[in-house]
């Protein structure tokens, strides 16, 4: 699917931050996530990985 699950990498451990994410916007050192039903969440970190092929996920590494 082209709708992603966003994970936070907390130093080896992946924590699911949000499911069914349809929009991600970078705002300085944080990311604004919006899911299909309009719920929002902010994550601090840097982009580590995007997988559109198999896992349909985005991984954000915690911290700056």
């Amino acid at each position: 699917m082209c709708i992603a699950t966003v994970y936070l990498d907390t130093g080896g451990e992946l924590e699911k931050a949000m499911s069914d994410v349809v929009y991600i916007e970078a705002e300085n050192s944080r990311f604004r996530l919006v899911n299909l039903v309009g719920e929002e969440k902010y994550l601090e970190g840097k982009l580590k990985r995007i997988d559109f092929w198999e896992e349909h996920c985005v991984v954000i590494e915690q911290g700056g």
Binding site: M1, C2, I3, D20, V22, Y23, E25, V34, L36, V37, G38, E39, E40
Partner: protein
Amino acid sequence: MKISVCGKGGSGKSVIATLLANEFKTRGYCVLVVDSDESNSGLYRMLGFDHPPLPLMELVGGKKGFKERMSVKFSSGESEHKMEVLTQDKILVKDIPPQHIKDSDGLRLVNIGKILHSLEGCACPMGVLSREFLAKLHIDEDEVVIVDMEAGVEHFGRGIETSIDRVLVIVEPSFESLELALKVKELAIDAGVSKTWAVLNKVNSDEIATKLKGELEKRGIEVIGIVHYIPQVFEACLEGHKLGDGVASEEIRKVVDALV
């Protein structure tokens, strides 16, 4: 009970979903039909409604509206209020905004959404919305949900069946339809659905019925009903009319007996 009606394109999913809805309604159930086919749009006509309900996709603003609102933070307002329905942990039928549900004496219809424009993108959002809506939809003992699925098996890939109690695969007289039934059975097991049954449709002779039943038996699929080729159904589908009352009632009664 939540029932998924699936099968090959053209096998008669919408017809059987309509017949099932009518029979459940006759038995006193409150019926909610979920149009989860993002391509075909005629289910509302078969059920006897003049217009389809507004798609549930519109609760999130539709593809275009949602995208436009991405650039600004969500704020309170009517559309956000409507969207709250989808963010609830549990959705009751009465929570669905009236313009998004059609109701005729206990026979109700909701519509997830349709692909409307060239290059608008894939139907993944509709699949996710179907999955989430069905997972959160709470029903009582006297309520039944009948989901008219898109053709094929992509809906399994999207996880729509994860909250379904019964998978009904509609099989028409063709090898492809038989093979798809097997695939549906396997995918339903993967999705955690224990019951997958077949209904034969458009059967034009007892010999064909016997052959199809035998082929499905070989594939480990039980047939719980046979709907023969019915000229009135053919005509209603050709003209885009409501399926007449009483059509195939005896045949569909056996299917409902097995389901309940």
